[in-house]
Amino acid sequence: MGSSTMKQNVPSASNNWSKAGVLSGVEVKKRLSLEDENRLVISPILEMHEQIRDDQASVDVRLGSQFVLTQPSALGEINEFSEFHYLADNRLYQELYIPIGRNIVIHPHQFLLATTLEYIRLPQDLMCYVVGRSTWGRLGLIIATAIGVHPGFSGTLTLELRNLGETPLRLFPGQTIAQLFFHGVETDENSRQSTSQYPAAVELFPKRISSQTTKKKIGRFIEANQTDKHP
């Protein structure tokens, strides 16, 4: 962002950043202003004074325009150990783009995927928690079930919306939907350098359930189990 953009060759601003603890609004703003690899990116922040308050410890984020509705299908079950696991099969999902000014209704007990409007990049010494706003919670809207975001993540955050209330809720992209609490992560230089970043995530579809190693090992158990049953 102009001269405030992250510059590759600028050395780390300070080693004090990685002290564990929740960042205040003031600290978050400082992090947003850095020009080195410790910079926190939240972009765009449409109303800075509303979304980040100095005396609070969170950043309000808004509902984005991308949505995915899960839909019934005649496919088999989602099973990551099956050759046809259907995990990211687009026959299970309907993608919708709702521009600002339009809306989408989430009906009681409906589940849909959404994103934050803001694009986020966490430096290697910060993680964040995604927490629903209490007003939405009181209306029955749950915004996320996977609430931890790891250091190095970059992308828009996928929100798993579910209306647990009894009344349909009309959602407008641009509304504040959740808040992020940023937390320092104690790392030393070596672990920082070896930590992989998450890819620039702007898609909502799930990609994998297990890591490659876990998947391989459970796969072997399944194979052995099948061999036992059918010698």
Binding site: G2, S3, M6, V41, M48, S154, S196, Q197, P199, V202
Partner: protein
């Protein structure tokens, strides 16, 4: 009284209109990108046509059914069907929703804020601009109030821009839309017309051009022998250079449109056009409507490296890359010598046209740079145009500010120094940073992430998604700040 046959015809018309109404309802229910307000105007026009047809097919004391009323209904239905066909691909499922607003802004900023223009995507490897005249509706009798209102709400001619969809809807290619816009600007109102600026520049360089034109005629005479008719060859040559009338583009207009796109998007149009033209055709043969691809690329490259707009130097300084004419289009065939071209063309278009087409590059080699310079001068001398120019300074700043972040997975969304007062990034910024990242730094894209081991196709796609996100969010930022 209508005859039995006419009754049957009326029934067919009713069925046809009924189905069109269903189709219209289905199209209306689709989501169109932000900024596509013109689409609603077109939909209103379809609705008005259908209402007129429905009214004409409903007999009353004042509107007895006659052969003429049935014919009117068919006319309306035909036009409605044509419009629905024109709109295919204009909703968000085909057209990248986020890219429409900035393209629309080019048109409203440089042509007219009221201009009724819409974008649609088609599964073709081409970009096209089409104008639809009001005249198509002038013959419709007893229009419904909805039709009258819809016609008057449109700033005619209605303009449609087609861009590729699916595999070829590559965001940085959209700088080619600036070329299509160039056609509209070129033919703009007389006061602002770049066409007159170009023509004046050509007149000012007449002696040089005359020499080239003489060489062209000698070439034609050599090949046509006794069939050579100097006046006819000159007339055909001029028609190809300047267009057949005010409505069809000539080679000069194509070159001017490229130069306008250069003024708006800088290096992005050079990369986009080189890439796209190499993809479209493997042949070096060209047509009456477009000058040789090789020369178009050459003229853009000359602009890119000109002393005034030294983008080449900027790329070399920032990236340490030598910029050559075939930077991203090594497979584009060079122009054959004109005698070989004559032979290649002769089988296709006959000897007369072959002599003209194969000889005209002699003239365009001279006129092309003059056309390009006239366009750049026009842009630099008028504030309305100047503020849209993508300058080498902007390009340098964009590379400084955005290239490293993009490679680290941060899209160019905002710009500025004051955190509480950032502005939306420009579309041209995203296009150019995108091209440089794709062409020169793909291997550095998110080096620590899983992407680093991906094949180039997937890696490019990942970067491309980031650019699309940049356009989406910068547009939201802009609209939010403006409302």
């Amino acid at each position: 009284m209508v005859t039995k046959a006419e009754q049957r015809s009326a029934q067919a018309a009713e069925f046809y209109v009924y189905r069109l109404r269903k189709q219209f309802d289905e199209v209306s229910a689709r989501t169109f990108p932000t900024g596509q307000s013109s689409v609603q105007k077109v939909l209103n026009l379809v609705d008005g046509l259908l209402k007129t047809a429905e009214k004409r097919l409903t007999p009353s004391r004042n509107n007895p059914q006659t052969a003429a009323t049935i014919e009117d209904a068919f006319d309306c239905a035909r036009e409605a069907y044509y419009l629905l066909q024109l709109m295919e691909g204009s909703d968000v499922s085909d057209l990248d929703h986020s890219a429409v607003s900035p393209m629309q802004r080019w048109f409203t900023g440089l042509v007219s804020p009221q201009r009724t223009i819409f974008f649609r995507a088609e599964n073709v490897a081409n970009y096209e601009i089409r104008s639809i005249d009001k005249i198509s509706y002038s013959g419709i009798r007893k229009r419904s109030p909805a039709l009258t209102k819809a016609i008057s709400a449109i700033r005619w001619p209605l303009t449609r821009v087609t861009v590729p969809t699916r595999a070829l809807s590559i965001l940085p290619h959209l700088s080619i839309v600036a070329h299509e816009l160039g056609h509209v600007i070129y033919r703009g109102s007389p006061a602002n017309s770049i066409e007159s600026a170009v023509n004046s520049a050509l007149v000012a360089n007449k002696p040089r051009i005359d020499i080239a034109f003489q060489q062209f005629l000698v070439h034609a005479q050599n090949h046509l022998g006794t069939k050579f008719d100097a006046r006819l060859v000159a007339t055909i040559g001029n028609r190809i250079l300047f267009g057949a009338s005010g409505r069809s583009a000539g080679w000069h207009e194509e070159i001017a449109a490229d130069a306008i796109a250069f003024a708006l998007t800088g290096p992005a149009i050079f990369f986009a056009l080189s890439d796209m033209l190499s993809f479209i055709s493997k042949s070096d043969l060209y047509s009456q409507s477009h000058p040789p691809t090789y020369l178009r690329r050459k003229f853009l490259f000359e602009l890119l490296g000109s002393q005034k707009y030294d983008f080449v130097g900027m790329i070399e300084k920032h990236l340490g890359e030598d910029v050559t004419q075939d930077f991203n289009s090594p497979l584009m065939p060079a122009l054959r010598n004109r005698d070989d071209l004559f032979v290649a063309f002769e089988n296709r278009v006959g000897s007369e046209m072959a002599a003209v087409l194969s000889g005209l590059p002699i003239v365009v080699e001279v006129t092309g740079p003059i056309v390009c310079e006239a366009v750049q001068n026009h842009f630099d001398s008028r504030p309305k145009f100047r503020k849209h120019r993508y300058t080498p300074n902007k390009f340098g700043n964009d590379l400084d500010n955005y290239l490293v972040p993009v490679l680290a997975g941060v899209p160019p969304i905002e710009t500025g120094n004051d955190l509480s007062n950032l502005e939306a990034a420009e579309f041209a910024t995203i296009l150019n940073v995108g091209w440089i990242a794709l062409l020169c730094r793909l291997q550095d894209f998110m080096p620590k992430a899983a992407q680093s081991s991906l094949p180039n196709g997937e890696k490019s796609e990942s970067l491309h998604r980031l650019l699309i996100k940049a356009v989406e969010l910068s547009e939201i930022k802009r609209q939010w700040d403006e409302i």
